[in-house]
């Protein structure tokens, strides 16, 4: 049986890991590859690097960081943030990312997902969906797009996404738990793995996300604050009977 994954997410801005609440009030939390290596040693099943300023600052520093991560890590990682199309995705994958997460550009032009899947295979294509009250939002949560997240997830998978990274913008950084209702609806609507994101505060929240069908759970602020929390979370989940890699 495939294990449930616990995935630390590193939001990167200007070469540093940052974390805010509801995508605002960013605080600095360290050097990305150092932190990533630390998480890998502590049992992270996978990692996500999201370049939250990519569209503003250009990609050079990110690609350099992705290359170092590829050399140093022995677990898989996804790169994303500001991916505008196939060429951005290609450069991240060639730099060494195992998967690429694409968000707004896919929503604006869903055919990008088909192009990516055709070239790199669905397993390398993560469609990131940010949602508020079940509706797709973009531009770091500022723009509601008038479409049900469940409906968009279904189309994204039909077009070739191999995984859905589902973030509840309202819950992000609040540590009050994932949006379980939305996670359940998306997990039931698609065949591919769904990664629950936004709101993790304790092991119970991850277990609840697994219970409603998520294959993986993203964690950020709780582990950035104290990385040793990661193995504790995994141990608590294992104790509760969830299939968790030791």
């Amino acid at each position: 049986m495939v294990k449930k994954r616990v995935i630390p997410c590193l939001d990167v801005a200007g070469g540093r890991v940052v974390k805010g609440v509801n995508f605002e009030n960013l605080r600095e939390m360290g050097e990305p590859v150092d932190l990533a290596t630390r998480y890998s040693e502590l049992g992270a099943d996978e990692l996500v690097f999201l370049d939250i300023t990519a569209t503003l600052e250009g990609r050079g520093p990110t690609l350099e960081m992705i290359g170092r991560a590829a050399d140093e890590l022995t677990i898989p990682f996804t790169a994303g943030g500001g991916v505008t199309g196939v060429e951005d995705a290609r450069s991240l994958l060639l730099a060494g990312a195992d998967k690429v997460a694409i968000n707004r550009a896919a929503f604006d032009d869903p055919a990008i997902l088909e192009a990516l899947a055709a070239e790199f295979g669905s397993q390398a294509v993560v469609c990131a969906i940010d949602a508020r009250a079940g509706e797709v939002v973009t531009h770091a949560g500022r723009e509601p797009r008038g479409r049900e997240a469940v409906d968009w997830a279904r189309e994204a998978v039909d077009r070739g996404a191999g995984e859905i990274l589902l973030t509840s913008i309202d819950a992000d950084g609040t540590r009050t738990g994932y949006d379980l209702e939305l996670t359940r609806r998306v997990a039931e609507a698609v065949e591919v793995p769904v990664i629950a994101s936004g709101g993790a505060g304790e092991a119970r929240h991850l277990a609840e996300a697994f219970e409603v069908g998520a294959e993986a759970a993203l964690v950020a602020s709780i582990v950035h604050e104290r990385p040793e929390r990661l193995p504790e979370l995994k141990a608590e989940l294992r104790e509760a009977g969830w299939p968790i890699r030791s």
Binding site: V2, D71, F120, P193
Partner: protein
Amino acid sequence: MSDTGGRLPRARRLTVAIADYGAGNLRSLSSALVRAGAEPEVTTDPAIVREAPLALIAGVGHVESAAAGLARHGLDVALRERVASGRPVAGICVGLQLLFEESEEGGRGLGLLGGPVKRVRAPRVPHMGWNMLTTTRPSELLADVDGEDVYFAHSYAAEPTDPDLVVASVDHGGPIVAAIETEHVAGVQFHPERSGAAGGRVLANLLRWSRSA
């Protein structure tokens, strides 16, 4: 070597030719091979792919585009010649699928081994994440990794005509071929370069296998 002080000279690193058919991420595999003691060379040169002590087919994507990429550089011919003359070839992920024949995804592999490649039938596809290896017979490739979790990321899997090729399986909606080994051909469906310490052992085993293959 001059800088080894009083220690014994180190054995030469095994050159591993990684067939580059343009499907991207070979960097993490190269780094992992260096850690395992090899000297990887990512190449489109059929002569290098034919003659290196070990040739690897890796990468991601579709069997069809991968096969086309190999053929574009004449690497398919080089790989067949290797196997015909008894030199070791190994495949990773799509590379393992490429060793076989017809794929349900479209396209055809190299046909070095008999059997089709079929879509994984499970509630969740792709089969994505860490899953436990169950060895089905002793092998060099998977020495000391029985029961370990390794990382999978695929929607298709090989179904060898000869079940004796299989050295490990994994359970995802039923048994899936996780690794195969013959005298000169080996393959893993998972990503050893992304499978932590257990993956490192598989790569070291692969180098050892290739020296004796």
